[in-house]
């Protein structure tokens, strides 16, 4: 099954909508609640990253009986130093964004922690692609 969600940069008011939709789907599919939690935590984090940094983005979700694949592609500034951005506690969120309650400073490392497979590629001034895979069994 395939679902797509468009994300607008700067639209904090709607940040989290895609995560909510995906959560509902997984509940309907009777996926274990602990797995749903991992999906939602990583997707939400990634979704807010797009809202906070990029101009726009798209979330592509593929679900089959074994796994969920989340692909997040954005157009934006990109990440110059991925290893640095992957460090625990490192957040690219500006202080203003953090003050709004977004981006608890866990960022990418938190996504990786919750994912079974995690890939990231990024080009400065072009955009970032994330691939998150979580297995159901």
């Amino acid at each position: 099954m395939h679902f797509e969600y468009k994300i607008k940069g700067g639209d904090f008011a709607n940040a989290g909508n895609a995560s909510s939709q995906v959560k509902k789907i997984l509940k309907q599919l009777n996926v274990d609640h602990l797995l749903i939690k991992r999906v939602v935590v990583s997707l939400y984090e990634a979704e807010v990253n797009i809202v906070a940094h990029a101009l726009e983005g798209i979330i592509k979700v593929d679900i089959d009986a074994e796994k969920i694949i989340l692909r997040l592609e954005d157009k934006g500034p990109g990440i110059p130093d991925i290893p640095l951005a992957m460090k625990e506690g490192y957040s690219t969120a500006s202080p203003e964004v953090r003050a709004m309650g977004f981006g608890a400073g866990m960022g990418l490392s938190n996504i990786k922690k919750n994912a079974d497979k995690f890939n990231i590629t990024s080009k400065v001034e072009v955009g970032t692609q994330l691939e998150i895979i979580i297995y159901f069994k």
């Binding site: 309907q28 599919l29 009777n30 609640h33 749903i36 939602v40 935590v41 939400y44 009986a65």
Partner: protein, 444 residues
């Protein structure tokens, strides 16, 4: 891993139901449909919040409780009273007067919910459970809501007994300690809502054995009021006994618990507010909250569906009562609880809460996926106006009913018109389908 059906205290009386669908529209968990002109309940979805009861214009929904005369099956008849019951009466009726009247009605012992609250306060200030935020298990409608709609939060619910269970436990222990055989004692609870009945009667719950029966608050209110009139308020000059502490009196009100929790705590009342908040919490968009007090009713138990007084006046009375208690600083109501503290502490824990998700389309994931595909195809042909004429709360509810085998697409009035236009359905068929939903009399 998941447990079976709930016990429900709510019943739809078919003979009275006029099939107006108000209950279906307000139900926060989409647990109601209209079929054959009558409201029908999906038991696995209902959380006993009582919204339907509250909105039914003809009182077709009943809260089933035990016969009052059941109390006389016991030699010792204990009534456990929630503080909001006292709050039903105008302040000119003293607490003592209401106690006395309950005695006159046949109870040998009257005990208000409250003792033991300080043990809960203690537990809240140094919680053993690791999950954050902790969600209070006080309101049974909320516990059920979490089970059916937010299963990923079940581990956040506190595993602690509610004050009513503690009160029952305490009095039971006291009476047996004084040499009264257990079978001679009947313990009855005056309930402000359907959710607490369901919790008490739930065979899965180990505390169910604490009570021998439940009496609805509106019924006992009438009995007490009639008795007071008969007596001409002759006790009304008696001074208040004031045996509960401020904390105990206010526990059932909004923010009664949250103020005692460690760290950052929030109190949220009314079920739709709670659902909004839990959606966000489940998405992890809310962090750093340590404790949540969540109650299904507006103004918490003062707004329970079996209340007769205006809920704001009930709150006012309880706050006034609390303000008049001289605090001894430790929340203790009396010394009795100190004597039994060890015993209660030993029994304070409840069993873990199991998820009981109502959202799944099928147990089997592959089947659920197929059903979801079908449902989204069905959604594409439905108009998306959520008119409710199909007898469900909205288009997506109909689509899900269809793939679950509980409905058919022709229930939709738009589909009917389309099919009549193309000649694939006769007017008579449409008429028959509408009759199946709304009953014959509405179409004649």
């Amino acid at each position: 891993m998941e447990s079976g059906y709930f016990h429900h205290a709510l019943e739809i009386i078919e003979d009275i139901c006029i099939g107006c669908s108000h209950c279906m529209t307000v139900c926060p968990t989409e647990a109601i449909r209209v079929k054959q002109g009558k409201a029908k309940l999906f038991e696995d979805r209902c959380v006993d919040c009582g919204q339907c009861y509250h909105h039914c214009p003809v009182n077709a929904i009943r809260v089933a409780h035990d016969d009052f005369n059941d109390i006389f099956n016991f030699k010792y008849r204990v009534v456990v009273v929630p503080t909001v019951f006292i709050g039903q009466f105008p302040e000119e009726f003293s607490t003592n007067l209401i106690y006395n009247t309950l005695h006159e009605l046949g109870f040998t012992h009257v005990i208000e919910c409250g003792p033991g609250v300080e043990l809960l306060m203690e537990a809240y200030s140094s919680p053993v459970q690791k999950a954050r935020p902790l969600i209070s298990s006080f309101c049974p409608a909320i516990v059920r809501l979490i089970q059916v709609k937010f299963p990923s939060l079940v581990d956040n619910v506190t595993l602690l007994k509610a004050p009513l269970d503690i009160a029952a436990l305490l009095i039971k222990k006291k009476l047996t300690d004084s040499g009264i055989p257990e079978k001679e004692t009947g313990i009855f609870y005056i309930t402000p809502c359907a959710a607490q009945i369901a919790a008490i009667k739930n065979p899965q719950d180990s505390t169910s054995s604490l009570f021998n029966g439940v009496i609805n608050m509106d019924l006992i209110y009438n009995k007490v009021y009639s008795q007071l009139h008969k007596n001409g308020k002759k006790f009304s000059q008696q001074p208040e006994r004031l045996h509960l502490s401020k904390e105990e009196i206010e526990w059932t009100l909004t923010n009664g618990e949250a103020v005692h929790a460690k760290g950052r705590s929030l109190a949220i009342d009314e079920i739709h507010n709670v659902i909004d908040f839990l959606e966000k919490l489940e998405n992890e968009t809310i962090s750093d909250v340590d404790f949540l007090e969540l109650r299904a009713c507006d103004q918490s138990c003062a707004g329970g569906i079996l209340g007769t007084a205006n809920r704001f006046l009930t709150v006012e009375r309880l706050r006034n009562r609390g303000a008049n208690v001289k605090s001894n600083g430790n929340g203790h109501s009396n010394d009795e609880i100190i004597q039994y503290a060890g015993f209660i502490k030993k029994h304070l824990a409840t069993e873990p809460i199991k998820p009981q998700s109502m959202l799944k389309l099928d147990e089997d994931m592959l089947k659920a996926m197929n059903k979801m595909k079908q449902a989204s195809e069905i959604m594409r042909s439905l108009p998306g106006v959520d008119c409710g004429i199909c007898g469900t709360p909205g288009c997506s509810a109909l689509a899900e009913d269809i793939v679950r085998g509980n409905g058919r697409i022709e229930q939709c009035i738009f589909i009917q018109r389309r099919k009549e236009q193309t000649g694939t359905q006769s007017l008579r068929d449409s008429f028959y389908i509408m009759e199946q939903i709304w009953g014959r009399d509405k179409l004649e």
